[in-house]
Amino acid sequence: MPMRLPRSPAVLAAAALMAAPAAADEIFPYAIHQQALDNGLRAVVIPYDSPGTVAYLTVVRTGSRDEVEPGHSGFAHFFEHMMFRGTERYSNDEYNDVLKRMGADSNAFTSDDYTNYYIIGPAAELETMMDIESDRFKNLRYGEDDFRREALAVLGEYNKNVSSPFLPMYERLRALAFERHTYSHTTMGFLEDIKAMPGYYDYSLAFFDRFYRPENCIVLVVGDVEPEAAFEGIERYYGDWKPGYKAPKIEAEPPPSGSQSGHIDWPAPIRPHLMAGYRAPAFSATTVETATLDLIAQLLFSESAPLYQQLVVDEQWVDFLQGGYSDHRDPYLFSIFTRVKSDDLVPQVQAAIDEHIAKLKEEPIDAERLERIKSHLRYRFALGLDSPGAVGFTIAGYLNLTGDPATVNRVYDQYQKVTPEDVQRVAREVFQPQGHTVVTLSHPQQSAAAAGGPS
């Protein structure tokens, strides 16, 4: 990779300054510039044609996966809320005023593996973004009252989510599928842990101290930005951030010992829902496994998939069908979610899903079909890169998984390598009865007729 000469003395101290131009055969069309600071913080800058606008993201490689202490599920997400509670220099109100003045779109989200803070706003305010973001990552300060109040907002967030069957079903699926690993709880956390949050002020201070450290974070800037100036600013604002990240000991999940199932009675009349998971390997861009699972998801659940066609278009037994593998740092689940027209059809829907999975295991699929899926994935990727925010969120996901933004290219390289034999092999490895978990949800008193459609 070509080296570039840094402009400022501060940047000379940096471990590396690299620019990888987009290669003609790689899917990601923009040059990726990277630099690491002495304290371990890494900066990634991607110029993108969005005149006057930048997306400024901070990826913290800590999520609900890191919640290893019992009773603290949901804490990574709760802590994300606390990051908006101010510092000595910028109180909560002042921080909001700065963002308001620049007209920024700003928020954050937490997932199983990471927490992502973002500001999308005027490129002319890039330095202000560096100032307020570095300040709160280095100097967050809040009192116990603020902490206790914010815990109620998290409870409110849980309450707004729980009116959908998705959350309770997802909670049950994970609790059944994982015994030891922290993927046994959702990112929101267990309700009893959320209710106990107001009492954990001291724990929250320790949480910040352990995880919000430069070695565990990556600053990503996408849009109307000059890489060298951005690196100089990041060095200036974040250079004195003290390292000290302490990685948690996340217990590995033992191999599954059998299939699991659960059922939820829903208090209101509702169409039955079905959610299932199969134990799947951790994300990898160096082997073909993850890529093959993504192609299998398309083979089974895309609109053009025979299973989708059968269940949604022809038989019309379900009005919603989704499935796939979402990239995770540790072994996770290939999951399936559907809504069935009536209770009596649930066994038939389950049988149809099983039958299509069995076919994948029994015989290699048509190579031409596989090529159509690869085409779909490449065009879908290109169509999705339509704003600096969209580019930023895409790359942030890969930064979380491997720390390397160019992982995006490796993933699409792997797609190209997948053969019909890979599909058959991976299907046999993943779709095993001993790693299978099923959760159903329905209204107990509801008759099949009441759930039916109009005549």
């Binding site: 006057g52 606008t53 005023d97 707004k160 009349p269 053009s304 065009y379 290109a382």
Partner: protein, 504 residues
Amino acid sequence: MSPQSRFATFALTFAMPILLAACAPAPRPTAVDTVTLASPGSPLIAVRLMFKSGSIHDPAGKEGLAALTGLMVGEAGTARHTYSELIDLLYPMAAAIEVSTDREVTVLSGEIHVDKLAEFTDLLTEVVLEPGFGDSDFARNKEQLYSYLTTTLRATNDELLGLEAIQQRIFHGHPYGHSPAGTVKGLESITLDDVREFYRRHYTQANLLLGVAGGFPEGYVEGLQERLAALPAGEPATLELPSPPPVEGRRFTLIDKETDSVGIHFGYPLPINRADPDYYPLMVANSFLGEHRTFHGRLMQQLRGKRGLNYGDYSYVEYWESPPFTSKPSPNVPRRQQYFSVWIRPVVPDTAHFALRNAIFEVDRLIERGLTQEEFELTRDFLVNYSKLWAQTLANRLGFLMDSRYYGMDPYIEKIDERLAAMTVDEVNAAARKYLQTADFEAVFVTDEAAAVKAYLEADEPSPMSYNTTPEAEVVEADKTIQGIAVEPAEVAVVPVAEMFEGD
């Protein structure tokens, strides 16, 4: 960022109808009305077809017909291909033809890579010009609408339920008064012949606004216009909307359903929309009060930030599409009649009464006190920059331009710039006084404890708060007033959720 910089690289061209000499007979314009937005370097092209075919055009007793017709065009087979075949053809291009029906319009849209433009355009024109109207597609699409009403709204998303319900209360007895998805009884009565007839009347050149944006080749737009000229000429659907029903007093509808918390909306019709000059100062006042999904609105700061009542609190001077899932306004849901509303996300039942009073207090405070010069400048600067982010993608830029054509106004995002640049704090405060009030509104509570809520609303006793922290002194002081605000409901009705969306 200079106000115009985002648009500097794009040529805005409008294919205007031919200007006619005053004495000449009035021939039809030679081309379908079109909005184009060229971005020559882009590998992407967005195409949108907006038909004046919304739920306001549903015949009485056939509620849902416009949406079902939209689905039978956009998500069904054609005379030449089954729906499955169409999906298979679109799939390798990662293309989809999306269709959505709101109160006034149905929009078919798609985005495509330039490599595949010709193939995609063939399929798009095929679905619009030659719908197949097959029985199986009809059953599936009707089922989709039915299950949206009976499962999605009634049983799986209290926030969408409350949003639809508040609109139905504000516009009861009005063409906006039912969901675009229709009613259970309306859907039951719709036949395939109804769909064919509705398509014949509404999918016409006169009702169509075409939008094309991105890196399309020369001659593409003209070619597409020519193909769409195969639609019948038709007459424009000029449905005059009646005035919304007057609201007298504070009227409450409690939707009774199993839920752990209480979601609240209240609002009333506004006499203006974004085409009106007064809309812009009102937009500033509203942004100060409760800009959607930001942390700096007064409602958010006071209810969530200072009191921990819930997850979010916002206010609106326009309909907002799918607010639980969007952070910025969506294009292509134009409505000539708009409403003001406050959305209080779920609170625990014990604090619902106080939360309502707190929101009333904040609206009243805005009306009485207005914005200071400093608050005004901050909010104005925010909106000038923030509104640029609403149109970041090609498809959204195109969508907002098409909406402006629909409203008969200059491009909206630029209009915000222009109006706000010349605005004063006095205009904003005058607009707040003129258009905001809390004496007459419709309110919807989604709650498991309808009887208890009804009892305390009618008793109108003080609702003191108890906090898990020591609140700030100013919160303690304000709460003394807020907890005793007289709500004085004019009516409190309880509706079991199973009765929602049934239809007459």
